[in-house]
């Protein structure tokens, strides 16, 4: 089975813990790392790019300090070396406006954060599909 490498930008400690907990239980996902905001994510990507170990999926929380999800997404899609990586934005509350802006800026998915274990599992199931869709298309 193919294992998708995931890089997460999430400033909330609890949410990072939830994410790590549920990814750990999966065989199709590997959490490369979790950073606290978009700026840190860009730095991490630069480092990883030099050793040829970019993630298969980037997951961004919308509300983060320094660079929020949408801002980071735009930055990523403007850099040639990262445009191929699918980006998912998730947030506690997603307004219609946010969804529209994110999709327009090239997000593969916009999801709301779940409020239970089943919801979390379902969310990760949905997130992994962006890789398989990409593999089929390429």
């Amino acid at each position: 089975m193919q294992v998708s490498k995931v890089l997460l930008a999430e400033d909330d400690f609890d949410d990072r813990m939830f994410f790590e907990t549920f990814v750990t239980g999966r065989t199709d996902m590997l959490l490369l790392g979790a950073v606290g905001n978009g700026a840190e994510l860009i730095e991490t990507l630069h480092l990883r790019n030099t050793v040829h170990e970019l993630p298969d999926i980037i997951i961004l929380d919308q509300n983060m300090p320094r660079l929020n999800g949408l801002e980071t997404l735009r930055l990523l899609k403007s850099k040639e070396e990262y445009t191929h990586i699918p980006v998912i934005i998730y947030s506690t509350y997603i307004s219609d406006n946010l969804v529209e802006s994110c999709l327009h800026s090239g997000a593969s998915l916009v999801l709301s954060k779940p409020d239970g274990i089943d919801g979390y599992k379902a969310m990760l199931d949905k997130m992994i599909t962006v890789v398989s869709i990409k593999d089929q298309s390429s």
């Binding site: 609890d14 779940p114 409020d115 239970g116 274990i117």
Partner: protein
């Protein structure tokens, strides 16, 4: 002989003088008769002597004396030749004292210059100026309308003086009210802004900790439910249920506040398709409760699709929720086109309104509570018996209002409820 000649010459001159005086007197009588003259001014060495007359045209004078405006005639030098009683009262002077005085004596210092200038420039054209007069115990704002009056071939001015005190006060009141209205509008805008802020806070910041409560209690449940005492298990379940209820409340409040804010976008909507979709969304509950939903042909109309969907959802879920325990819920939805915006309107093929009726066989309600049914956070039943936030029907009403429509509810306890809605087919 010489002296006789002299006397004769003097007499002839006197006769000439007298003839001149007679001609002048005749002219004067003619002037008085034709109403051109109100008074004589005889210029003496150091003063003006004025003689007023009682003219033949008495009705005109009575009218002038009785009217509520001041009426004054002045010479181009500004001397009062005639004044009616009203003007004298206005300036708190004796009528006989007014005549012969300078009109500018009655004008408040700051207005005198304006008046004098207009008097200097007077060329016979009618005009109007606003002045402040010195009243007997207060200053009086007046409108002075003046016009040309022939006075022995000399120009003089007839003036009508209107007391503007009442108008000025009314104007002032109006300005005050306008200011107050502006303030209220500002306050309203501020409170609307606050509501927006609150909605945004509610949507993000309140939901965040709530979701954590849900997540952690869910994790606790996974981990401990097998080892917990039954009572402790119920505590944990209560935390989960309360959090879920809080979440529903926040989402509902958010939806309600969204309705207050944004300007509506309307499109042509096929209500049949929309209703079919809504009914499909309720599939599980419909099966669970063995409910039936029947609906006739609904029209196409201009509306906000998202809001119409919410309206259907709220009314259907309301009927399913308040079903009688011993009866299978049955909801009937019908619509027809009517000729006017009224619940009593007649069906009319080419009408401009749609009358929709939602009828159920649920628990109904006592008609005396009809006013509270559409209120925010109003509940007719304890939340232990029927879940809900008490916002659903408030949202429904708001949606109808946003579409310039009408909604009303009629209930019979233990038999069912009927919700009637009138919506315009086209939004302006």
């Amino acid at each position: 002989m010489e002296s006789l000649k002299k006397i004769n010459g003097e007499l002839l001159r006197k006769i000439e003088d007298l003839q001149d005086q007679l001609a002048e007197a005749n002219d004067t009588i003619e002037a008085i008769r034709s109403g051109q003259v109100d008074a004589f001014v005889v210029t003496a060495d150091h003063s003006n002597e004025v003689y007023t007359l009682r003219s033949a045209d008495k009705t005109y004078r009575v009218f002038i004396e009785k009217m509520t405006e001041g009426a004054v005639t002045i010479s181009t030098q500004g001397i009062v030749l005639y004044s009616n009683y009203q003007f004298a009262t206005m300036v708190g002077a004796n009528l006989s004292k007014v005549i012969g005085t300078s009109f500018s004596d009655y004008i408040l210092h700051e207005s005198v210059e304006i008046f004098n200038q207009r008097l200097k420039d007077f060329d016979g054209e009618d005009g109007k100026i606003e002045l402040m007069l010195k009243g007997s115990n207060r200053n009086i704002p007046v409108l002075l309308s003046f016009g040309k009056l022939e006075w022995d071939d000399e120009l003089s001015l007839s003036m009508i003086i209107t007391d503007l005190t009442v108008q000025k006060n009314a104007q002032h009141e109006l300005e005050k009210h306008n200011d107050q209205l502006e303030e209220i509008n500002k306050a309203l805008e501020d409170s609307n802004h606050d509501l927006q802020q609150f909605a945004s806070v509610a949507s993000h910041d309140l939901q965040e900790p709530l979701r954590k409560i849900q997540m952690f209690s869910n994790l606790l449940w996974e981990k401990l439910s097998h080892s917990l005492e039954p009572e402790d298990r119920s505590f944990l379940r209560k935390i989960e249920r309360s959090a879920k209820r809080m979440k529903t409340l926040i989402v509902d409040v958010l939806n309600y506040s969204k309705l207050s804010s944004n300007s509506n976008q309307f499109t042509k909507i096929n209500l049949n398709n929309l209703l079919k979709e809504c009914v499909e969304d309720f599939e599980i509950i419909i099966a669970e409760k063995n409910a039936t939903i029947d609906f006739g042909e609904l029209p196409e109309l201009e509306a906000n699709a998202g809001q119409m969907r919410q309206l259907f959802q709220n009314l259907i879920s309301n009927s399913l929720k308040f079903a009688l325990p011993e009866k299978s819920p049955r909801i009937e939805i019908n619509a027809h086109i009517v000729d006017r915006k009224s619940f009593n309107a007649n069906p009319h093929q080419n009408g401009r309104y749609c009358h929709m009726i939602f009828r159920d066989n649920g628990i109904g309600f006592d008609q005396k509570y009809v006013d509270s049914i559409f209120g925010l956070f109003q509940r007719l039943h304890s939340k232990d018996c029927y879940e809900g936030t008490g916002i659903g029907l408030a949202i429904t009403k708001k949606i109808v209002e946003k579409h310039c429509g009408l909604i009303r509810a009629v209930g019979v306890e233990g038999q069912g409820a009927i919700f009637s809605i009138i919506l315009p087919l086209n939004q302006k």
